[in-house]
């Protein structure tokens, strides 16, 4: 069946791509407010750097590895190296291939930005560049292929509407591995390392919530009812997550504004794989549970004395895992053509669990290996004096606030 370019679809995906692009500096600002003043330029900068690095890697090779002609269900071929064959025509959709490629590009970009959580305030810039390029090529591209590019996880029936597995599980559990290799910041556990600018983090969260409409509703790859469903469940899940994390922190002490926006992100992460398969009432549950689950995961992480500094694992990793499973619980045939546990179908849930499990193991193990290799050859960390005066001065020779 050959389809014709649909200008509504194309316009929407163009906009969605721009929305998701904005989420990348959004991650940077979210993280930037959470670190100390002496490292904020570095932290926000790492997200911009992730966008720049992946933008280049993707058009050279990444897109081909993820979406090229399938080889053994494991990786894409090199047929689209340098965007060969990716043009203004529509291929087998209603939007130009080029914009499909660009939409996928910003997903790859944000995934690398998320993982910078694990190396906050201590990573050597040159090592991050090398690690980042290796990671996006060897972790992101294969996973994207397995789930969206015609690879074996999709064959097996695992559903991931907008990237709960490909983006969030990978970066969340990757961050865990990376944190284990790079080690904790000097003084972690001994003295306080408070966020230096909570409003900056809230601004980041605002850009993320806004951009997520492009992330999820854009993943319908059409301007249609499914996009509308994704849009609505996205907002609903974010709101539910914001409220439950707020209340959870309230029960433990004071209601945390930072917790509230973190809960919104948790809800957004969790609804990501489910957005095209569940309804708004399910989204209330998915987001609400995500808010509590990710809050508890954060507390657990701190209790273990692990410096996975900005909680990508607790929010994206755990939130993504919950979202993958929730998809298998709440999927409604009327919406996306698949049904979940609440409608009596166990198989989908099992497929979700297996898919998530494989992604977790793959992302964790390969990230661990890559981090180790870079650490041994180049050193992942800056020196103690550099860490003490802060990366803004030590790595960039810049001050955030004159």
């Amino acid at each position: 069946m050959s389809l014709v370019l649909d200008s509504g679809d194309t316009a929407w995906i163009l906009v969605s791509t721009a929305l998701v692009m904005l989420m990348i500096p959004g991650v940077g600002l979210f993280y930037g407010g959470l670190v100390r003043k002496k490292d904020v330029v570095s932290m926000v900068g790492l997200s911009f750097l992730a966008l720049a690095l992946v933008s280049v890697q993707w058009v050279l090779a990444g897109y081909s590895l993820a979406f090229g002609t399938d080889i053994g269900g494991v990786i894409g071929g090199l047929d689209h190296l340098g965007l060969k064959g990716v043009g203004m025509g529509t291929g087998d959709g209603t939007i130009p291939d080029l914009i499909f490629m660009a939409f996928q590009l910003v997903f790859a970009g944000i995934t690398l930005a998320i993982i910078t959580s694990a190396v906050a305030e201590r990573v050597k810039l040159s090592s991050f560049i090398v690690f980042g390029l290796l990671w996006t090529t060897l972790v992101y591209d294969p996973l994207a292929h397995w789930v969206w590019g015609g690879g074996f996880l999709a064959e097996m029936g695992a559903l991931d509407f907008a990237g709960g597995t490909v983006v969030h599980i990978s970066s969340g559990f990757g961050a865990l591995a990376l944190a284990l290799v790079i080690g904790k910041r000097m003084g972690f556990g001994e003295h306080d390392m408070e966020p230096h600018n909570i409003p900056m983090t809230m601004l980041g969260a605002a850009l993320l919530w806004f951009g997520w409409f492009g992330f999820n509703a854009g993943s319908a790859l059409a301007a249609d009812g499914l996009a509308a469903n994704a849009f609505v469940v996205t907002n609903t899940s974010a709101a539910a997550g914001a409220l439950t994390w707020l209340f959870a922190s309230w029960i433990n002490g004071k209601p945390s504004a930072l917790g509230m926006v973190s809960g919104a992100i948790a809800g957004l992460v969790a609804i990501t794989p489910a957005a095209g398969f569940v309804d708004a009432m399910s989204a209330l549950a998915i987001g609400a549970i995500a808010g509590i689950l990710c809050y508890r995961a954060l507390i657990f992480r701190i209790g273990k004395g692990l410096d996975e500094s900005l909680d990508a694992w607790a929010v994206h990793g755990v939130g993504g895992l919950w979202g993958a499973l929730a998809t298998g619980i709440f999927a409604s045939e009327a919406i996306g053509g698949y049904s979940g546990l609440i409608y009596g179908n166990v198989d989908q849930f099992v497929a979700q669990a297996i898919g998530a499990g494989i992604a977790i193991v793959y992302a964790f193990v390969v990230t661990l290996a890559l981090a180790k290799i870079v650490d041994v050859t180049m050193g992942l960390r800056v020196s103690e004096e550099e860490e003490y005066v802060g990366l803004d001065i030590a790595q960039h020779g810049e001050k955030a606030y004159a």
């Binding site: 001994e190 003295h191 306080d192 020196s383 004096e385 005066v389 001065i393 030590a394 020779g397």
Partner: protein, 108 residues
């Protein structure tokens, strides 16, 4: 007497808590930058030396009875010391008068 101390910012909580344990509650705290005789911290950047010569510190000022000065100094040193360059200093100066604004009393 006025006891003024410059300490590492990351030691603020520890010093404040130790002081509170020993009964030293009132204080003024400010963020400052400064350097000692080491002229700050030297970093190497691709073979070139870079000097970060004014580092962030915290200044605490307390007014105490003459008899309490030694205990205060000892408490600060114990809580603020790391043994490395940059630990800071303590200055003790006399105070002519101290007045509480709320009541107008001269307290000593």
């Amino acid at each position: 007497m006025k006891v003024e101390t410059i300490i590492r910012p990351e030691r603020l909580d520890r010093v404040k808590n130790s002081l509170e344990e020993k009964g030293f509650i009132s204080m003024t705290v400010s963020e400052v930058t400064g350097r000692g005789e080491q002229k700050g911290i030297k970093l190497q950047f691709r073979g070139k030396d870079m000097e970060v010569d004014l580092l962030p510190k915290v200044k605490m000022e307390l007014i105490v009875e003459d008899a309490d000065v030694d205990l205060l100094v000892e408490t600060i040193v114990d809580a603020a010391k790391t043994g490395k360059f940059g630990d800071g200093r303590i200055f003790v100066t006399p105070v002519a008068k101290s007045i509480r604004i709320r009541t107008g009393e001269v307290t000593s």
